[in-house]
């Protein structure tokens, strides 16, 4: 019994990081109605950012966080101006295709340079032992950092002028423009913020598990599941959705082989999309 509890707690720790990844995706969706399919490659960029900074520059792993955050922001700005800006206001399918093709280019470049071999970044943090179970230190640190970043994001969106501008543009772009908000600048900022959140979550995931260049697809799909659970376009919902997915994984792991959890997750994803596309938490509110 206590084994299941331990598995659930560990699932929740990891799930919070999924939530962080999904927050970046859902922020972009909510603000500009763009499904950002470069999300997976941004996550991978964060992973390789950590790898390069620790292996190349000998930085301690968690010191890489601010650098990855800033790098992700700049990459996000560039992506916005290359692929997304011309698609704002056009049918959503066009931005879907343009970000999709950028993802292709990035993954193609990455595989040409690094191939698809497994990478691992050794991070040593003492674990927390409780009875017969030890929770890995990296999982705890990742969850704490995620909680910190989520709080900062909340503070930013609800307490600062720029954050309020982002929410105004998400609510009604035309009206936001009428009251003098520079919408294009706000949109590019929101996209860059979303991309940098994806990078940081990728970096944190790389401290937990080994990764390859193609890991982005897996975590991008997990992010989709999370934002569908939490309701599209809702950053707080994304964190709750991430915890829900982590809980599910933690619950399932003791009972079935790991490869079956993917079947259940994707089946759940399709069912939730069809049955309640506004997210399972929206049902209660309405």
């Amino acid at each position: 019994m206590s084994g299941i509890v331990a598995s659930i707690i560990d699932g929740l720790l990891v799930g919070s990081v999924y939530g962080l990844a999904a927050m970046g995706l859902t922020l972009i969706w909510g603000v500009m109605d763009v499904v950002n399919l470069t999300h997976g490659s941004m996550i991978v960029a964060g992973m390789f950012g950590l790898f390069l900074l620790t292996a190349g520059l000998n930085l301690p792993p968690y010191a890489a966080l601010p650098i990855v955050l800033a790098g992700g922001f700049l990459a996000g700005l560039a992506l916005y101006w290359i692929a997304v800006h011309r698609m704002i206001g056009r049918p959503p399918l066009m931005s879907l295709l343009s970000t999709f093709s950028i993802n292709f280019v990035l993954i193609g470049l990455g595989t040409a340079v690094w191939g698809t071999v497994l990478f691992n970044v050794p991070v040593s943090v003492p674990g927390f032992t409780f009875g017969r179970y030890t929770f890995p230190g990296t999982h705890i640190v990742a969850a704490v950092l995620t909680a910190l970043l989520a709080l900062l994001l909340y503070f930013f969106l609800y307490r600062t002028r720029l954050g309020k501008a982002i929410r105004a543009v998400a609510g009604n772009r035309g009206a936001a423009e009428l009251v003098g908000i520079p919408t294009t600048r706000v949109l590019s900022f929101a996209f860059a913020l979303g991309a940098s959140l994806a990078c940081v979550s990728g970096m944190l995931i790389a401290t937990l598990f080994p990764f390859t260049l193609l890991s982005g697809d897996v975590y991008q799909l997990k992010s989709f599941i999370v934002i569908v659970l939490g309701g599209l376009g809702n950053p707080t919902g994304a964190l709750v959705g991430g915890l829900a997915l982590g809980l599910l994984e933690g619950l399932l792991t003791p009972f079935m082989p790991v490869s079956w959890t993917a079947v259940i997750e994707f089946a759940l994803f399709v069912v939730v999309l069809i049955a309640c596309p506004t997210g399972i938490f929206a049902l209660r509110r309405s």
Binding site: P91, L93, G108, L221, F269, I274
Partner: protein, 335 residues
């Protein structure tokens, strides 16, 4: 797009046989079948065989993307599932290819209809996400499904090539069958486009709510399109994996293949019949060239992605859109 719909109705009054495009398709398919056969050119046949697969996937996908305006990221699930069913029927109950491949098509279509009624309630990006989810769910399931060999897949005995006249002859037979399926795909997408059903799909693509108000049975039409475009890719999947005598989940449900099909539809011109076919042919040639060239062999994905980006950004009508703009009368001959 509106003048497209009005010319469409005017043209419908002609008999199908008197329209030049009917014969253009037929001649193109025959030339395609004979070109490698005349010189007994095996290398050309292999290259054309891949091109037929691309044409089949792209022109069936085009019915969803180009007519109804629904982006299906997971169209490869039809191909992969068809491949699995065909290989399974040949390996275990020992069915002949002539029965297994059509059976695969029928089963996949039959699955697609109820499924389409469910996921086609979603619109736009929601639908696109769901199709990715469906493909991943099916792949994850097949990876765990022991009767189909799980993650390591299924092999076919090469003895199965015997009834087709040995391995050499069998490859030619498979090629001709794939060319025939390609021809059927082109006629199917043309036939849909000039029918009332196709007009309904085009109306859905322009404005689904308006179409519904005007009396188009939108949920049924969308599900029918989903189901009709599952049949031929599933059969092609059966033939393709029979040819390789091996199938595994990561090959059968490879999202890259779906993506390439989308790129091809956009490249050739969505909503046209010739566009996806020409796009597929050129894409296959380009891909072959990139794979064999020393400098570019690692950058095949980069080139495909960059090409798609340029089309989406600057040429949303694709090759056919550009040609029609320059020579408007071309649309009488090539639709």
């Amino acid at each position: 797009m509106t003048d497209l719909a009005s010319t469409h109705v005017a043209q419908r009054r002609d008999s199908v046989l008197r329209r030049p495009f009917f014969w253009v398709i037929g001649v193109a398919v025959i030339v395609f079948a004979l070109a490698p056969w005349i010189g007994n050119d095996v290398e050309l046949r292999e290259s054309f065989m891949l091109a037929t697969i691309y044409v089949i996937l792209a022109s069936n996908l085009n019915v969803m993307i180009g007519y109804a305006g629904y982006i299906n990221f997971g169209s490869i699930v039809f191909f992969g599932l068809g491949g699995y069913i065909c290989v399974y029927l040949m390996a275990v109950p020992q069915w002949p290819l002539a029965a297994a491949a059509p059976a695969a098509g029928v089963i996949v279509s039959a699955l697609a209809l109820p499924f389409g009624l469910g996921i086609l309630r979603l619109r736009g990006a929601y639908f696109a996400l769901a199709t990715i989810g469906v493909n991943e769910a099916v792949q994850a399931f097949v990876t765990n499904f022991k009767p189909w060999g799980g993650a390591s897949g299924m092999y076919l005995s090469t003895a199965l090539f015997k009834p087709l006249g040995g391995p050499m002859q069998a490859l030619w037979t498979i090629y001709f069958l794939l060319v025939a399926i390609m021809g059927l795909s082109l006629y199917l997408s043309w036939g849909i486009k000039i029918s009332k059903f196709g007009l309904g799909l085009l109306a859905i693509g322009q404005n689904e709510d308006a179409a519904s108000v005007m009396g188009v049975p939108t949920p049924l039409y969308k599900a029918m399109a989903y189901c009709a475009t599952a049949f031929l890719p599933a059969m092609a999947g059966g033939l393709y994996f029979f040819k390789g005598a091996f199938i595994q989940p990561s090959d059968a449900f490879d999202l890259t293949f779906s993506t390439e099909a989308i790129a091809i539809v956009m490249l050739g011109g969505q909503g046209t019949i010739a566009g996806p076919a020409i796009g597929a042919f050129f894409y296959e040639q380009l891909r072959g060239w990139l794979l064999t060239s020393e400098t570019f062999s690692n950058f095949q994905l980069v080139a495909a992605g960059a090409l798609l980006l340029v089309i989406v950004l600057f040429l949303p009508g694709g090759l056919m859109g550009w040609l029609y703009q320059r020579w408007p009368r071309l649309s009488r001959w090539i639709e």
